[in-house]
């Protein structure tokens, strides 16, 4: 947990997250991430061997747990015209996006 983040790490993570970073932006992100990761490294002081991770709160008292799932029946969703009215580019039937596969 003491790994130092490099500019290459930030660029790799930015690619995973589909974020385009400007040159100066990457440099300040390296600095910020290292400061934050140094700070969170204090969690290493705690022995958590055998502690079951708490991922979500439904298991706690008063919550509904598994029973919260509704019956598996079809219900109408928003109609197409309503949804497409919000799309940046559409032919009113589909969302239009730039070409996905480029010719080499």
């Amino acid at each position: 947990m003491t790994a130092k983040v490099t500019i290459a790490d930030v660029e790799r993570v930015a690619e995973l997250a589909n974020l385009e970073l400007m040159q100066d932006e990457s440099a300040s992100m390296v600095q910020d991430l290292n400061a934050i990761l140094d700070y969170v490294a204090q969690l290493n002081e705690l022995d958590t061997a055998g502690v079951v991770p708490l991922a979500q709160m439904n298991e706690l008292e008063g919550a509904d747990g598994e029973s919260a799932l509704r019956a598996d029946v079809r219900v109408p969703s928003l109609d197409r015209a309503t949804v497409m009215a919000q799309a940046p580019v559409t032919d009113k039937v589909f969302f239009k996006v730039p070409k996905v596969i480029e010719k080499q």
């Binding site: 947990m1 790994a3 983040v5 790490d9 930030v10 993570v13 930015a14 995973l16 997250a17 589909n18 974020l19 385009e20 970073l21 400007m22 932006e25 992100m29 910020d32 991430l33 400061a35 934050i36 990761l37 700070y39 969170v40 490294a41 204090q42 969690l43 290493n44 705690l46 958590t48 502690v51 079951v52 991770p53 708490l54 991922a55 979500q56 709160m57 439904n58 706690l60 008292e61 008063g62 919550a63 509904d64 919260a68 799932l69 509704r70 928003l78 309503t82 949804v83 009215a85 919000q86 799309a87 940046p88 580019v89 969302f95 996006v97 730039p98 070409k99 996905v100 480029e102």
Partner: protein, 484 residues
């Protein structure tokens, strides 16, 4: 003496307004118009509202007035002017989440909390400013400009629900809704001198709340007093089949609960919340509040929550990991902004997100993606979830001994605009007393509890166990009635 402007004005209470409307002494339509006048007057200085929903508000007010004239039974919020943090959707009104990436988006449906307010008679005035995607502790991360604190316009209102807190403090709405992921209702409420509620996780449906960190996000009310906040929670709480994490746990009459006496209640005071970094004037105000609780018959005892110092690192790993997944949906395809630099699909994604997101949102997406990436998952995300369990169990043990826990809501009063913007970590530490309850899923109420010598409000945080909002309201009301 302060030389800056102040816009503080106490709203009339919900009960008082509702009665006046029911008796026809006040018309809901005229009241809404008065609030729009107030907004027009002070919004240019405070930047609280991002959009107004005047048509919908006046239609609703007319319905309330017609019902009142006929002598029909009115809802608990009949005619009460309310505003909504702009991370919740309202049909046909812009929803920005304080971000450029949602520019132009007009959601086609209402959040459950919004429709429940309206069904109870509330008049929805508009949408309030906030940090982008609720990420921030000062409201300075909004793409639409910072909100100013009505108490002192040189200072931040807190964040991320800064607009919703400031709206109540400046009487631009009688009550508002905010969202709280790590302190985003409680901290701004304390900075602006109003009441803010963090309901138990699952108490209020998140349907229609733009997601930041789904295991932490909660919707809750702001109001000018504890009783009003309790009425608001009673209206929005309860199971909703649109949110699988919303609970069937019975909704109590929180307003009635808040009025119950507190004598005999056991109050825990955790030493870890009174250590280094706590402003001496905030400490003095909270200690005075604790004396008031003793005088009201509470049994106050010191307790220890030794994992408290691990809450901020745990929170910033869990919250950013969840955010990096939740914010993947903003890609320029289905709604909101799309970059003109979209020659290929991948360029469209990258440029849309680069131009659409602000620096703090990018920082958190990167941190979260890093914490979830191969080789680091166990060391960061898994570790944080394990510590989250330790923190939660620590609270559960404490609540076997005490009925409520009281702490300062924030270690400092409202700070100056620009004071912390250069140092992300310093900004994260502003949440040091609030992230613990967020991680543990427990509930809390922040209530005004004195002020600094220069007149900045101090808030006391009253925490209670899962689905024990009634006790938190009771204690908060005892603190409130001892003020002045």
């Amino acid at each position: 003496m302060k030389t800056t402007e102040t816009f503080v004005q106490k709203p009339k209470s919900v009960a008082e307004l509702r009665e006046a409307i029911a008796l026809g002494r006040v018309k809901a339509g005229e009241l809404a118009a008065k609030y729009y006048d107030r907004i027009a007057e002070v919004n240019p200085r405070l930047n609280v509202f991002l959009s107004l929903t005047r048509g919908r508000a006046l239609e609703q007010a007319a319905r309330v007035d017609a019902a009142a004239a006929k002598g029909d039974k009115l809802g608990p919020l009949a005619g009460v002017p309310v505003a909504i943090k702009d991370v919740m959707v309202m049909r046909g009104a812009p929803a920005t989440a304080g971000s450029k990436i949602l520019q132009g988006y007009q959601p086609p449906y209402d959040a459950t909390a919004v429709s429940r307010l309206e069904a109870a008679g509330a008049v929805l005035l508009g949408k309030t400013n906030c940090d982008e995607f609720a990420m921030g502790s000062s409201n300075e991360n909004s793409a639409y400009g910072a909100v100013r604190n009505p108490v002192d316009t040189e200072r931040v209102p807190g964040g991320s629900s800064g607009g919703s807190a400031a709206a109540v403090a400046a009487n631009m709405a009688v009550a508002t809704l905010g969202s709280d992921t790590g302190g985003s209702i409680r901290q701004p409420a304390s900075f602006c001198g109003v009441v803010g509620v963090l309901p138990t996780y699952g108490r209020v449906s998140r349907y229609g709340l733009i997601a930041f960190a789904s295991s932490l996000d909660r919707i809750g009310p702001f109001a000018g007093n504890v009783h009003d906040a309790a009425i608001m929670l009673g209206v929005i709480a309860g199971h909703d089949e649109m949110d699988a994490t919303s609970s069937h746990s019975p909704v109590l009459d929180y307003a009635a609960e808040s009025a119950k006496p507190v004598d005999g209640l056991r109050i825990g005071v955790p030493e870890e919340y009174f250590g280094e970094g706590l402003d001496p004037e905030v400490r003095a105000a909270i200690e005075k509040g604790i004396e008031d609780l003793k005088a009201a018959g509470c049994r106050v005892k010191p307790i220890s929550l030794p994992h408290t110092k691990y809450a901020i690192p745990t929170y910033y790993l869990v919250a950013t990991a969840e955010a990096s997944a939740n914010l993947a949906r903003f890609d320029g395809v289905r709604y909101g902004y799309r970059s003109p630099k979209s020659e290929t699909l991948s360029a469209m994604y990258r440029h849309t997100r680069d131009e659409g997101f602000g620096a703090e949102v990018k920082r958190r997406i990167l941190l979260g993606t890093y914490a979830l990436s191969a080789g680091y998952y166990d060391a960061y995300y898994l570790k944080a979830q394990q510590v989250r369990r330790l923190l939660t169990e620590e609270f559960l043990r404490a609540f076997a001994e005490v009925d409520a826990i009281v702490t300062p809501t924030s270690p400092v009063p409202a700070f100056k605009l620009g004071e912390k913007t250069g140092d992300p970590l310093a900004m994260y530490l502003a949440d040091i007393y609030t992230v613990t309850a967020s991680l543990a899923g427990i509930c809390g109420v922040t209530v005004p509890c004195g002020a600094t010598k220069s007149g900045l409000p101090v808030g006391m945080q009253v925490l209670a166990g899962h689905f024990n909002e009634g006790t938190a309201f009771r204690v908060a009301r005892a603190v409130e009635s001892a003020q002045k």
